[in-house]
């Protein structure tokens, strides 16, 4: 997309996923190199707020993907967000459907540091309470940046002996951790797992994971590049572009819509 628009793309990320300081260093380096604009997917919300605000006030166009930093969109700042509220509703409807409107669930991966995760959880619980009042949330757990820790959290819940019919995991790390725990306890059939963000595909085919609310990352990237093209050419663009997620299940995993989001040909024309 960038090449089609005549934009040369420099792509990079810190070698450690949790290295927020490294991401800020990259930002400063990109600014110093004189690039025309920045598209960024923040590792965390708050630490990136000041650097992005400073860059935008300096006049450099920025498109923020995936997280609302709380900075008001402007002629130099635009957001591409996953519709986390819609994602929460999708998960709630899926849970309601597979539990037939009755049962007990646990929520893993709650992360107040990421507004998108918080939005998912609130939307999920609101929808559940409103439309499936007989489904109870019996456990809520904070999320971590490490799969083993998430696995341990899930195993602690399974060890409590309390009956749980399903687990909703709000991030790809907590989804993977919960899946490992279910495999470890041999409960992939007994306890349904609804996860967020595409990561483990094979367990969806085998039924180990019931479904995943998937961000349409390919579309988000395309929209981000279109917004950047508009910003660098001083055209008016939407301040916030929301891309709805899609629920990936065993039934639709091989449909063109899903495959397009998962393609490895990220540089190709859709």
């Amino acid at each position: 997309m960038g090449h089609q628009k005549g934009l040369n793309v420099y792509w990079n990320a810190p070698p450690r996923e949790d290295d927020v300081a490294g991401q800020i260093d990259f930002l400063e380096k990109v600014v110093a190199k004189g690039y025309a604009g920045i598209i960024i997917t923040p590792d965390q919300t708050l630490p990136l707020r000041s650097p992005i605000r400073r860059i935008v006030s300096g006049g450099l166009p920025v498109v923020v993907v995936g997280t609302n930093l709380g900075i008001t969109p402007s002629s130099k700042l635009s957001y591409v967000l996953n519709d986390d509220a819609a994602g929460g509703q999708m998960a709630a409807h899926r849970i309601g459907k597979i539990l037939n409107g009755r049962g007990s669930i646990a929520i893993l991966g709650i992360n107040p540091q990421l507004t998108g995760i918080t939005m998912r959880e609130r939307s999920f619980e609101d929808t559940l309470e409103r439309e499936y009042p007989d489904i109870r949330v019996v456990a809520r757990r904070l999320g971590y940046y490490s799969v083993p820790q998430e696995q341990q959290v899930a195993e602690d819940i399974l060890n409590r002996g309390e009956a749980i019919d399903a687990i909703v995991a709000l991030s790809h790390i907590s989804t993977r951790g919960a899946f490992y725990a279910l495999v470890e306890f041999d409960k992939t059939r007994a306890i349904k797992l609804v996860g967020f963000d595409q990561d483990l595909m094979p367990p969806i085919r085998t039924g180990g994971i019931d479904s995943v609310v998937m961000e349409r990352t390919y579309d988000m990237g395309r929209v981000a590049m279109e917004l950047m093209d508009g910003l660098v050419h001083d055209r008016a663009v939407a301040g916030v572009s929301v891309v709805p997620p899609v629920l990936m299940t065993r039934e639709n995993i091989d449909t063109p819509e899903i495959r397009q989001q998962l393609t490895a040909r990220w540089w190709a024309t859709p």
Binding site: N12, P15, D25, Y145, S146, V183, E184, P202, W266
Partner: protein, 741 residues
């Protein structure tokens, strides 16, 4: 007058620049031909030599004859070789240290930076998660072209022989297992990267490399590796990683259990042994142990350093582990459980004879930002910290370590990094730079030698960030700045002289042209008018009535003719150019006194040197004026003209024995003011001394510019300052002398 002929500066600069460009181009071509001809490398890891490896991320060290990356970063690279290398083979024994990652070799790389896939080039590696040999192209992003199953499979902590060949636009990778099975990836890319360096790379796991060899590749090498295989065009579409769409070998007819076994085996591997001992203690609790009584304990934590000792940290503190055993070599970022004998030390505990069990990898490590003063208290002993300081010095330490001496908050401390790689980064660190270091803070005297309160053990030199370079006002920089300033002044002075000389030459040429014009027109006309008047006189018989008018007209014409000739003589500089200053003045004097009884003598002393045009012309005019004044007003019998060449000056003296005059402000007529003005233009000092009845003495002392530049700057600047400061205040009227400048 003879002038020193200076070469044209523009011409000199042009010639020098052309020669420099030609030299640089030839050198580059020679270097390119030398370096691109035959890529050749064999590692010296067994000799513990680091060669010229350049790290981009990772924590690299040489262990048992192999290069090891202890970090599980996404895309740590170690680069070597020449960007001009084209067709070559790189091969090495490669081992993955952990699960869920890949390790391999880079070929034809350029534009490397720290970061994920931050280079342009090709990479082939072994990935244990989906048990494949992968081959693809990085260009600040990753395009995976092929991922083939490795037979029997990819195991961590087992050696594989990996070979990557680039010939033309064919990129081929082979992996040979210890049992001899060979897996081949091969692609042909129409718009391939034509040349570049080689490197070692791992992704989300540590790795080991040994026997790294690079040699030139030929067509025969390509055929030998690929055999009858038709090398396919690079097409990323069929490639599926563990997170992509189904692989082409997916068999939907398989049972769910089989499918799970097929795909989830790596996941099971990843999940194994995650159970921990519930009796594990927080590390901070070990500080409550009884002194001198080791206790057998279990702790869990994240590995923060592996060299020179294993350091582990949990949310309560950190500790060092000595003499440990582990089935899997722990890497930085591994969550481990360790059981051993804990000993209480001054500021933290040490675990000895420990069994270390890796629970999982990729645990986040967060450094705590502390000041040097805080670190010096010992409260952060054995913990992963971030501290800032100014670099005071650096040196190579024992066991291939690199040592940095730093200071901050009135505290001095040291940082020690494993020097196996990163010599280039080490050399780039400049004293007085402000650095940010991330590493393990230790206060043990085994590291500090009781010289500093604490030492920072760095996982690698990549953990040193330069916040600010050294201040510009260092002694060396000030000296350079002063020299540059002086050179600039010199250049400006030279340029000014050049422009001034050009302007003067233009003036002289214009004067000469005017003289020629006057000679050819005005003087000739006067001569013609005189001739015509004489003719009139000869032809008229009764001239009594007009004789007086004719005589008057003839005298006027003759006088005007003489004036014109004097003006022409004054304007023409040929004599000055051809005969020199003294002789020109002598000639001028003899012309003035022609037919009279005045005796003209000349005198010169000192070593005659080239006189700049500006000075010789000005002194000539001053001398002419002095001579003219003497001839017109003083009625002398002798005229003495002297020219004295000094070390830094040139003196002109015109002396007569005429009637003299009282030198005061009123006597400074137009002629004297003119001389003074001319003297000022060349910063010359003009003195006129005269006493009634005892002649007049005119002296002009001009500084010589070349010597002024070389040796007399300070004196001249002081002299000028003094002259300006007290200009006009040192006239002593009673002595009948005056100094005019």
């Amino acid at each position: 007058m003879t002038q020193w002929s200076r070469p044209n500066p523009a011409l000199v600069i042009g010639v020098v620049a052309s020669m420099a460009i030609v030299t640089i181009v030839l050198s580059l071509r020679w270097y390119s031909s030398q370096t691109s001809r035959q890529p050749l490398y064999h590692d010296s890891f067994r000799l513990e030599k680091q060669d010229d490896w350049q790290p981009f991320g990772g924590a690299w060290e040489i262990v048992d004859g192999a290069m090891r990356n202890n970090s599980d970063e996404r895309g740590a690279k170690l680069m070597n070789g020449n960007p001009n290398w084209k067709d070559y083979v790189i091969e090495a024994d490669v081992q993955l240290l952990g699960q869920y990652g890949d390790a391999g070799l880079i070929i034809r790389a350029s534009n490397e930076e720290e970061g994920v896939d931050a280079y342009d080039g090709y990479y082939a590696g072994l990935r244990d998660l989906d048990n494949t040999l992968i081959l693809g192209r990085a260009g600040y992003g990753w395009v995976e072209y092929q991922a083939r199953h490795v037979v029997p499979r990819v195991y961590a902590q087992k050696w594989y022989h990996l070979k990557v060949l680039a010939y033309g636009c064919n990129i081929v990778a082979t992996a040979t297992s210890s049992s001899g099975e060979v897996t081949i990836d091969a692609i042909q890319e129409p718009h391939c990267v034509p040349s570049g360096r080689f490197g070692l790379k791992s992704y989300q796991t540590g790795g080991l490399w040994r026997n790294v060899r690079v040699r030139e590749a030929t067509q025969q090498d390509l055929v030998k590796v690929t055999g009858d295989i038709q090398i396919p065009l690079a097409d990323p579409d069929p490639v599926v990683g563990p997170t992509g769409k189904p692989r082409t070998d997916w068999d939907p007819a398989r049972s769910a259990t089989d499918a799970q076994d097929q795909y989830l085996e790596p996941l099971y591997l990843d999940m194994r042994d995650h159970h921990v001992d519930p009796e594990g203690q927080p590390i901070a609790n070990l500080r409550a142990l009884a002194p001198g009584k080791p206790a057998h304990v279990t702790i869990q934590g994240v590995v923060t350093l592996t060299f020179p000792a294993l350091f582990v940290q949990d949310s309560t503190g950190g500790l060092a582990i000595q003499n440990f055993r582990s089935a899997t070599p722990p890497q930085i970022g591994d969550q481990v459980e360790a059981r051993g004998d804990a000993e209480l030390h001054d500021f933290s505990s040490v675990l000895k004879d420990a069994e270390v069990h890796v629970l999982w990898s990729h645990a986040p490590i967060h450094s705590m930002s502390v000041t040097a003063s805080q670190a010096a208290t010992g409260s952060f002993d054995a913990q992963y910290v971030e501290v800032e300081g100014h670099l005071e010095g650096k040196e190579e330490g024992p066991d291939h370590t690199m040592v940095l001496d730093l200071a901050e908050d009135n505290q001095s401390f040291r940082a020690i990094a494993n020097g196996t790689s990163g010599a280039g980064s080490f050399r780039q660190l400049k004293n007085k730079s402000r650095l940010r270091l991330r590493g393990i803070c230790v206060v043990d005297s085994a590291y500090t030698h009781d010289l500093t309160p604490f030492v920072i053990l760095l996982p690698s030199l990549n953990d040193v960030g330069i916040l600010e370079g050294p201040p510009w006002w260092s002694t060396g920089h000030i000296v350079v700045a002063v020299i540059a300033f002086l050179l600039l002044i010199l250049a400006l002075q030279t340029l000014h002289n050049y422009i001034e000389r050009s302007r003067l030459i233009a003036v002289l040429e214009e004067r000469q042209r005017l003289a020629h014009e006057m000679h050819d027109t005005l003087a000739q006309s006067f001569a013609g008018i005189g001739f015509q008047l004489q003719a009139i006189r000869d032809e008229i018989e009764d001239r009594s009535a007009i004789d007086h008018e004719l005589d008057l007209a003839s005298r006027l014409v003759r006088r005007s003719h003489e004036e014109a000739k004097r003006s022409i003589a004054a304007l023409r500089p040929e004599l000055l150019e051809s005969a020199g200053l003294l002789q020109a003045l002598e000639e001028s004097a003899r012309t003035m006194v022609a037919g009279g009884a005045i005796q003209v003598t000349t005198f010169t002393s000192g070593e005659a040197s080239n006189i700049p045009v500006r000075i010789s012309d000005t002194l000539f005019r001053i001398g002419q004026e002095a001579l003219a004044n003497a001839v017109r007003h003083a009625k002398p019998t002798t005229l003495m003209i002297s020219l004295i060449y000094g070390e830094a000056t040139l003196q002109l003296l015109v002396e007569d024995n005429g009637k003299g005059f009282v030198v005061d402000a009123d006597s400074a007529g137009f002629g004297i003011r003119g001389m003074r003005k001319r003297a000022d233009t060349i910063s010359a000092e003009l003195q006129i001394r005269s006493t009634p009845g005892h002649g007049t003495f005119v002296q002009a002392i001009a500084p010589m510019p070349a010597k002024l530049m070389r040796t007399l700057w300070p004196a001249t600047i002081w002299h000028l300052f003094w002259e300006r400061r007290f200009h006009g205040q040192d006239t002593d009227k009673n002595s009948h002398q005056a100094t005019y400048r």
